[in-house]
């Protein structure tokens, strides 16, 4: 496991999101923490797209440390799923109502499989 990229956005509103990418064999794990809202979603999307463009077998987006996932964040996940096509399997780790519920409510969990833990998302 190695940390290859880390970025932080600290917009004026005080909201922050931090994104770190880790490698686990053929899988990339994007570890996100903070709030994903209108302000921070572009940073989140940028990190997701550049991780997808490295064409890992699997991209796991770990939202365990995320306290808020707004609709702009959902769209960012959709964009990453689109960019991934058939090359990369995109999976999301989300357990809290703040993160899992918006994905389930909008039906996006049908397109992007949801897992409670990172271990499960990295498993078969």
């Amino acid at each position: 496991m190695s940390t290859v990229d880390s970025s932080q956005a600290e917009p004026p509103g005080g909201q922050t999101v931090s994104v770190t990418v880790e490698k686990h064999g053929g899988a990339s794990v994007v570890v996100v923490s903070g709030d994903i809202d209108m302000v921070t979603a572009p940073e989140f999307e940028k990190a997701l797209i550049s991780a997808v463009r490295e064409r890992p077998d699997r991209l796991v987006v770990d939202l365990t440390g995320v306290a808020f996932l707004g609709s702009a964040g959902l769209t960012a996940l959709v964009a990453a799923r689109q960019e991934a096509g058939e090359t990369t399997a995109v999976r999301v780790v989300a357990k809290s109502s703040a993160t899992a519920r918006p994905l389930q409510l909008t039906g996006l969990d049908q397109e992007i499989p949801l897992f409670a833990t990172r271990e499960e998302a990295l498993g078969d």
Partner: protein
């Protein structure tokens, strides 16, 4: 900025408790605030249902998808119904990325029939 994209948004209460937001034109990052405003005021009236009529929309970009996802969440929070009238092929394709569980109708009559 060369050619401005145009969006025309109007709302009507097609029957008591149901607000239809009609959108005509292209929905992108520059025009989406107008649709967002119309949806906001539709929800403020405490409707039982909001129908977003996209049957006259020629382009639906990701900024529009974000507003649609927000509307789904808002409807759930308000215990109300939200439906999208899809119409044209470009809108159907754009919505396709959001998955098969979207509350869509092929035309306005269908959306108002529940």
């Amino acid at each position: 900025m060369s050619i401005a994209t145009l969006l025309h948004v109007s709302s009507s209460e097609s029957r008591p408790g149901t607000t239809v937001v009609h959108v005509v034109g292209e929905i992108d990052a520059s025009t989406v605030p107008e649709m967002a405003l119309a949806l906001d005021s539709a929800w403020k009236s405490g409707p039982r249902a909001v129908v977003l009529d996209l049957s006259h929309v020629e382009f639906l970009g990701t900024a529009g998808l974000t507003e649609i996802l927000r509307a789904i969440e808002r409807a759930d929070a308000a215990h109300a119904t939200f439906r999208i009238v899809t119409g044209g092929r470009s809108v159907v394709r754009a919505l396709d990325v959001l998955g098969s569980r979207l509350p869509t109708s092929p035309d306005l009559a269908h959306a108002l029939s529940d």
